[in-house]
Symmetry: C2
Subunit: 79 residues, 2 copies
């Protein structure tokens, strides 16, 4: 089973990387870009076949390693 | 209109960050993790309201700035 974890900075947390991307796009002539936020995506290959157990396991991975829950939120998709 | 761009390393391109994540998860006791790949996700706020035009614009942004198409592939989702 594969899991896709998306980790984004929480709303309100300053995102300098996103701001840099928006500014660079504006400079390149993409005037319609109002803002950008950057996050990370992690694709995991899991041995677990049960979706509920896999979700619980990935949730624990996010809390323990993949996301800093003080400033980041995460979303889990199973495929 | 919002666009979500996911940029991942192409298959076959070495992903040391993904390998480090998989190794760290194994060390933490998640033995079921066979592999991990890390990419980035960029959320864009666009002034463009037409989905076709927005997609074409974001595609150009990916080719010019957001992705290195030699080693990275990208996917665009409009919301």
């Amino acid at each position: 089973m594969r899991a896709k974890v998306t980790v984004m900075l929480k709303t309100g947390v300053l995102d300098p990387q996103g701001k840099a991307i928006a500014a660079a796009l504006n400079t390149l002539g993409f005037a319609g870009v109002g803002g950008a936020r950057q996050g990370k995506v992690i694709e995991l290959d899991l041995a677990e076949a049960d979706p509920d157990k896999a979700h619980a396991e990935v949730d624990e991975m996010c809390r323990r390693l993949l996301a800093n829950t003080v400033i980041e939120s995460y979303a889990i998709e199973l495929e």
